[in-house]
Amino acid sequence: MNSSEPTAMREITYREAAREALHEALTNDERVFLMGEDVGRYGGSYAVSLGFLEEFGPERIRDTPLSESAFVGAGIGAAIGGMRPIVEVMTVNFSLLAADQIINTAATYLHMSGGQINVPLVIRMATGGGLQLAAQHSHSLENLYAHIPGLKVLTPATVEDVRGMLATALADPDPVLIFEHILLYNRKGLLAEQAGAVDIDRARVRREGTHVSLITYGGSLWKCMEAAELLAQQGIEAEVLDLRILRPLDDESIIATVSKTHRAVIVDEGWRSGGISAEITARIHEQAFYELDLPVQRVCAVEVPIPYAKHLEDAALPQVEEIVAAAKKVVNGHD
């Protein structure tokens, strides 16, 4: 990665990068297969696996019935049986129908069996709001899974991460959940020609700054980047930390940025009560209380089921202006 030669870059959408990752995984390892609702003939509900059925065949690109619990559980059984399944759940809301398998089975078997039965399963799902899909297709429930020991929870926000996290997740011996924000699929980014696997351990600073840390992940990353740009025009240099992984959280990177800027705003499309933003706030207080100049601020979804109407949905989700306002408040000490 760090060769002295200039890296050739190309522009690519998040969808295409996700697709390349899947294509590579299916090509490189015959144990890998993809299953889920409409991943085959339909091409994936977000068109990520379009054309795969023709290329890899119905044995490895498996359309499933609308039976989330059965096909997620089948992924667990297949993983135990020596395969490397990638299970696609259409949206995080639907994953609740498989919560038994994810939480009671995938997350417990290794520990409960005294270290014998590991579950090398990857589950991908779409998350987040912004497409006016209302309250059963728009929620950001990744925090529910980040609560569970035994799971790893990834939230790729960039084309490099969605391209590179899958291979690392597949090499992982334990269950890994990958959350892809629905607003990211059409987003373009620059990807190195030689892009490959990336770590799934560390958060990443996406923009350096000295006055305030914007701590975020997933779809909210780009709102924070935009907010940082606006703040810079007003003389406030915001550092943007992309968590990348919600479980295990990279405390070191969180504490490092807070220790640098002494001010933190956490931006999360999930709800504030009992959310990942609450967890991060607690960790900052536990580990870096005296580094803080002012209390941590949070910009989260309003505590309502996400509504359909555009103006209401916009009002319910974190927006750039709110992030800017929260950052200014924590920098200036007042609104």
Partner: protein
């Protein structure tokens, strides 16, 4: 005593019949000892005994091949022993010792053994069915002839996971044998109080599975049914469903006051219990007399005493190890 027991048919090998009896007896005595150890406080938590249902697991396991997987429930001591997990490891597990088959982390309800592909003790009713389907999917995709044996109670048939799993297994023609142990009570809820259709095979047939119902108290019948299922699943005919009609002689767990059934009902079933009736048939065939029975009892008692001693001598896992195996220790 059963009067005028029928001798075994000539087609049954006498030595094999004695093996079946011995296996059932071994499970029975192990369970009795478990209850005793529970009342002494050596076993805690939930304890679900298999007493009365031994012919089901014993019949099934005759057809379980080494390459097969077994996915069981929380009433699985018998299955674990019959599958070949050493009795020492099972007893030590229930004592919560690290010499147990799950290092003492699972207890009675979560016996695991990778070596024999015993994939749990799952205590979520219905939760094991999708896992068994997945194991069968892997077996099929890898081109092996392994079969996934999925054991569950009739209570699981009210769960969505039952219906999703049978549909998927049939749709994809996977080698799963769904073994329903119908003891007629889902904990305390009688079958006809929880199912609108009590002919359970009809549910399986509605998903186009080959399905049969057998007398789960007759080990020859359970063995034969499991063999038909194994032959079918192993030869690529997709999943198979067997309803084993059986009865639980003891309480659901040690916390159960059994308010939902009468002592007379239990007694009536005990008279036709799997050990009692099979012993009578063995006697009628001249295969089992008092001396032989005493020898078997003594051998089993010795094994059980040794298992208890092993479990008592076992060591608690160090608390420092508590967080081990939340994630795999070998990372790529």
């Amino acid at each position: 005593m059963i009067t005028a027991a029928e001798p075994l048919p000539d087609t049954v090998d006498g030595e094999h019949a004695l093996v079946l009896f011995t296996q059932m007896l071994r499970v029975r005595r192990f369970e009795e000892k478990s209850a005793e150890m529970y009342s002494k406080g050596n076993i805690r938590g939930f304890l679900h005994l298999y007493i009365g249902e031994e012919a089901v697991g014993t019949g099934i396991m005759q057809s379980v091949a080494p390459q097969d997987a077994v996915v069981a429930t929380y009433r699985e001591h018998g299955h674990a022993l019959l599958r070949g997990i050493p009795m020492n490891a099972v007893m030590a597990e229930m004592f919560g010792k690290q010499e147990g088959c799950s290092r003492g982390r699972g207890g009675s309800m979560h016996l695991f053994d990778k070596a024999t592909r015993f994939i749990g003790g799952n205590a979520i009713v219905g939760g094991g069915l999708p896992v068994a389907v997945g194991y069968a999917l892997a077996a099929k995709m890898r081109g092996t002839d392994a079969v996934a044996w999925c054991i569950f109670g009739e209570g699981a048939m009210a769960e969505g996971e039952f219906h999703e799993s049978l549909n998927l297994a049939e749709l994809w023609q996977l080698p799963v044998v769904f073994c329903c142990e119908n003891n007629f009570y889902a904990m305390g809820t009688a079958l006809d109080r929880s199912e609108s259709e009590t002919r359970l095979v009809e549910k399986a047939r509605s998903y186009r599975l080959d399905a049969e119902v057998v007398d789960g108290m007759d080990v020859l019948a359970t063995e034969a049914a499991a063999r038909r299922a194994a032959d079918s699943a192993r030869s690529g005919n997709g999943p198979y469903f067997i309803e084993f009609q059986t009865y639980r002689f003891k309480a659901h767990s040690m916390f159960d006051a059994e308010r939902y059934r009468s002592k007379e009902e239990v007694h009536e079933h005990e008279l036709h219990g799997p050990l009692r009736t099979f012993a009578a048939r063995l006697s009628a065939s001249g295969l089992l007399d008092d001396d032989k029975r005493a020898t078997l009892e003594a051998e089993i008692a010795a094994e059980i005493e040794a298992a208890v001693a092993f479990a008592e001598a076992g060591t608690p896992e160090p608390v420092d190890d508590l967080t081990r195996f939340v994630y795999s220790e070998v990372q790529p």
